[in-house]
Symmetry: C2
Subunit: 248 residues, 2 copies
């Protein structure tokens, strides 16, 4: 970026679900248009930042500003497409909004893929994937990501384990004990996944099934019993600090 | 514990704000009494677990069960007082309940002290310490802690820095850059503290003031911009994984 390039760090940053290319003029969807026109009070000529999850981030100049339709012309690339460490988070749905929080943190912490896993003790029976995705989009807008995590369909644990990819380490938090997470991270480079159970934990049969997967690595997350949402964020955060972001 | 000791892991576990000693019969406060009598439907003779934050965890047998007053006699110690790593979390209040979540996670992750810090860009002007404490108590009950974090009075950043203890490392998340957190953890054993700013970050003047503290260690938490609540949980989680819980 040249020294005279404008400081874009305080301009609105929005995800749009359409391919972006330099020179193109696009019409933003109603929610984003409303946000820019009514909430942020932007005017024609103002610059915003857009990303499509695939082609980095772009500076775009507003051409027309209506309450329900804002158009913008893409100018220069403002950030390259990010390198994503190949880490998945596989987590059982949690009640009381905690799964929304997990989806948000998964995105902030840079996971490549988020897999809701249905286990024996999973209490939540209906999972709103659109809402989870909205939380991830908002997190990506705020944290500067140019890639959204893939959001997988809810997957029964047995199916997840049966189809587990050959080369992917399966780091799972086992409340009955395991190795310290940093030690496991040291020998579990990408591709890897973190698997976290529901509020009530895995059943003994589920734990045995997980341990039977050759790629499984049981970890302990310390001497205290962490809630599932905490365990998910901390396990991914420690992996990223020790393996992912360092390697990137 | 002998082989015939009962499995207490599924019995209710409650914090009581009164000193516990073997043989004593105590009357539980109204909320805990209500919970045991009305929610958990416990009967005289049932066993519960109690902790006072100071003397470990005790098995207690219920003597009388009323809707507003339950009495219990303390029997045997069921867990020793935990060893707490000397890590503080100093964090600016956050809006929309995110500070409650930070208090909960601070407790789950085993911090010794939680200090709400008032900074220039702190938006929240009224902080309900009783509510923060209630979140920490609930977290301690759930995660098996026998110690509650000290909850400090809200402290202006300038005062915090002026009185910073001589021997305590001050690990602060600096969005303008710093060393990777694992590298800093390696040379910041306890006592240490993690300092996290508000939603809008520290001002340049605040960052300069923090860096001027001789014990300050600026860290980066990776290539993405983490929300303040995420930064707090991950920084403490990584420190505990690399320094605190390992050393304990």
């Amino acid at each position: 970026m040249s020294e005279t390039a404008p400081d874009l760090s305080t301009t609105p940053r929005l995800y749009v679900d359409q391919p972006l290319a330099p020179g193109a003029t696009i019409t933003l969807p109603v929610p984003q248009s409303h946000y820019l026109a009514q909430v942020m009070r932007r005017q024609p000529g103002d610059v915003v930042r857009l990303f499509d999850g695939r082609s980095g981030e772009w500076a775009a100049r507003l051409v027309s500003v209506g309450r329900k339709a804002v158009t913008a012309t893409l100018e220069a690339a403002s950030a390259p497409q990010e390198a994503v460490a190949d880490i998945w988070l596989c987590a059982a749905p949690l009640k009381r909004g905690r799964i929304d929080w997990v989806a948000e943190k998964a995105c902030e912490l840079g996971v490549a893929r988020f897999v809701p896993v249905i286990t024996r003790r999973t209490i939540v029976d209906k999972l709103n994937l659109d809402r989870l995705r909205a939380h991830m989009v908002e997190a990506a807008e705020q944290c500067g990501r140019t890639a959204l995590p893939d959001l997988a369909e809810p997957t029964p644990l047995a199916a997840l384990l049966r189809d587990w990819p050959a080369g992917r380490a399966l780091i799972f938090a086992d409340e009955t004990g395991g190795e310290p997470l940093p030690a496991v991270c040291a020998r579990a480079p990408a591709p890897a996944a973190v698997l976290i159970g529901p509020e009530g934990g895995f059943t003994p049969e589920e734990r045995a099934a997980i341990r039977a997967v050759p790629q499984a690595l049981a970890v302990t997350l310390g001497p205290r019993i962490l809630r599932a949402d905490t365990a998910a964020a901390v396990a991914v955060g420690v992996w990223q600090a020790l393996v992912g972001d360092r390697a990137a």
